[in-house]
């Protein structure tokens, strides 16, 4: 290769052998440091603001105090029972919303008159604050778990349905044509071709649906305070009503962490899906 260096720019050298050894530790580190940095940054800024004396600590408590409150909470059985109650409601409500939202989404995407009739209604329902449904929920279900689920489903199902619709709308027509040619009947067309193709938008819709479900749940849990059953939503409202700033912040942290964990689930599923489809480098 007696090439004249002046017009040649080296593009790349093969990776050295050491890179292969790095392995797991490096990977875990690469995954962990950004998170650690973010947490340290947030806590640091928060602490600095508190130190600056900008607001009295009874309205803006220090991270230390908040974490201490959180730690104290973690030690109580009541807290875990609240988490459990709330998570069970969330999962059941979300599962219901999933089934209903998916069914409605598929039907609306498929049946033109239905779409014209109720297509926009779906977003309309989505914009309705949970609180507006309370009276109806109570009239229909009384002060019962079902009233909470009703509010949760009304919150989450529309956004799941919208995810399905947008997913189906953007399925490449060539896939549908393929399905037709392969002789797929309606059910198999949707099961084998359209829905898998719509999966990315569907999962995005599910994430949004989860957020809606969770928000609606936090509101809905104020509806029904049921015998011997503390809940996160009630805790949040309680902290607020009693102006307990550290408790409020600690509860917000819990909500944030649960939200992030659930997002972790969704996004790792989305990632594996992308990897399968060659949309992401493994």
């Amino acid at each position: 290769m007696s090439a004249d260096g002046s017009i040649l720019t080296p593009v790349v050298d093969g990776p050295s052998a050491t890179q292969a050894d790095a392995g797991f530790v490096l990977k875990a580190w690469g995954w962990a440091w950004p998170k650690a940095l973010a947490i340290v940054l947030v806590l640091g800024i928060w602490q600095v603001v508190v130190w600056s004396g900008w607001r009295p600590t009874y309205v803006l408590p220090s991270p230390g105090e908040t974490l201490q409150t959180l730690w104290g909470m973690l030690g109580t059985e009541r807290f875990w029972s609240a988490i459990q109650t709330t998570m069970i409601r969330a999962v059941i409500g979300f599962a219901l919303a999933l089934v209903i939202g998916t069914a409605v989404g598929v039907l609306v995407a498929r049946i033109r008159p239905l779409r014209l009739a109720v297509g926009s209604l779906i977003t309309g329902l989505q914009t309705m604050p949970s609180i507006a449904w309370f009276p109806l929920a109570i009239l229909l279900f009384g002060l019962d778990e079902q009233a909470i689920l009703f509010v949760v489903v009304l919150g989450a199902a529309p956004s799941i349905a919208n995810g399905v619709i947008s997913g189906i709308d953007h399925v490449p027509p060539s896939f549908v044509r393929l399905g037709t040619v392969l002789g797929a009947k309606t059910v198999s067309l949707y099961r084998d071709i359209v829905l898998p193709a719509a999966m990315p938008a569907y999962v995005a819709g599910l994430t949004q649906g989860w957020a809606f479900a969770w928000r609606s749940l936090m509101a809905g849990e104020l509806l029904v305070i049921i015998a011997e059953r503390p809940s996160l939503g009630a805790n949040l409202e309680f902290a607020r009503q009693f102006s307990k700033a550290p408790l409020l912040l600690a509860t917000m942290l819990v909500i944030l962490i649960i939200g992030m964990l659930v997002d972790g689930l969704f996004s790792s599923y989305a990632r594996s899906m992308r990897r399968k489809r060659g949309l992401e480098v493994a």
């Binding site: 009874y58 305070i225 309680f238």
Partner: protein, 336 residues
């Protein structure tokens, strides 16, 4: 300095041009509504060259946060948020400077329930866990020998529930009564309920605090003159209410309509009005008793109260209202 709270904090400047007055678009805040509607605060503050910036709140916690955040100076507020603000700030942030309303709460139940024993196995709503009515109901049940846990168990199931949903739940048959303040008592009566216990009957002289006025401690320290002027306006409003109830009712409804788009039905308003007394007396003893009851039923933490300096501790500062009352030739209010 002016209304934009966060940038200019009035308590760091010596002069303020406006006082920020908080209240709820709520019937029991009638003195604030009438005073603002009729310009009584404005008139009282005029000599000081200070204007009033009214701020309506939907709920106590936001008003308390606003006070804590120096976004609000004086607020009409119920006894619960008062205790919470006092306790949570370690006794520092606020002081009660006057009363505004007394009375007007009752246990209403489904017709057919005629005594405490009739409540066994029933569900009763209260506006909110740990609020005055909630505490009152729990305390009363205790005295009647009935049990009720904070989680809704016991002989009587207490279901803390926003008032609007409470009424719907009553209509749907899931609750059998409620211990609520006016105008909700009147709404329940309209929906067919009957009064089982009028809270008045439980208090000496039939008076207990429903609304009082609190001030940011720092504001009171720096601007006692403004606080005094506001209380003059308050007194003028109380006089207006006493002198011409019909006009006052109209002013209240007009104000509610303007703020919320909703007003009370005339019959509900009349009925509720008859149950509430608007007074400058904050009735400290009743608040103290209520706090004790809350501790007794496990809804307030005695330790927290203690570290805030106890109740009443430094909660009350009635010098200004007494001065204003005196100037008007009226008797001073009861000290704690």
């Amino acid at each position: 300095s002016g209304a934009s709270a966060s940038s200019d904090r009035p308590d760091t400047a010596n002069d303020v041009s406006t006082v920020r007055l908080g209240f709820f678009p709520n019937f029991t805040h009638a003195p604030a509504l009438v005073g603002l509607q009729e310009g009584l605060f404005k008139a009282a503050l005029k000599p000081l060259g200070v204007t009033v910036t009214p701020t309506a709140f939907n709920a106590g916690p936001d008003a308390v946060t606003a006070l804590f955040a120096d976004s609000l100076d004086i607020a009409y507020i119920g006894p619960n948020p008062t205790i919470n603000a006092y306790v949570q700030s370690g006794g520092q942030a606020i002081k009660v400077i006057a009363g505004a309303a007394s009375g007007g709460a009752a246990l209403v139940v489904r017709p057919g329930i005629t005594d405490a024993q009739g409540l066994k196995g029933r569900s009763i709503a209260t506006p909110q866990l740990g609020n005055t009515q909630d505490v009152a109901l729990r305390h009363w049940l205790q005295q009647q020998g009935l049990t009720a846990t904070t989680e809704g168990g016991g002989d009587v199931s207490i279901r803390p529930q926003a008032n609007a949903e409470g009424l719907a739940a009553y209509a749907a048959g899931t609750i059998d009564g409620a211990w609520v303040p006016e105008p909700w008592v009147s709404e329940y009566l309209k929906a067919g309920a009957t009064v089982l216990v009028d809270e008045k009957s439980l208090w000496p002289e039939g008076r207990f605090v429903t609304t009082n006025i609190i001030v940011r401690t720092a504001f009171l320290d720096q601007h006692p003159d403004i606080v005094k002027a506001v209380l003059e306006g308050h007194l003028a409003a109380l006089d207006a209410i006493a002198n011409d109830p019909a006009a006052a009712k109209a002013a209240v409804n007009a104000s509610l309509q303007g703020l919320t788009g909703s007003a009370l039905e005339q019959d509900v308003l009349d009925q509720a009005w008859s149950q509430v007394e608007f007074t400058a007396d904050p009735l400290p003893a009743t608040l103290v008793a209520s706090a004790d009851h809350a501790v007794a039923v496990g809804l307030l933490d005695q330790g927290e109260i203690e570290s805030a300096g106890g109740i009443p501790g430094t909660l009350y500062d009635l010098t200004a209202i007494d001065a204003v009352l005196k100037a008007a030739g009226k008797p001073a209010v009861s000290a704690p």
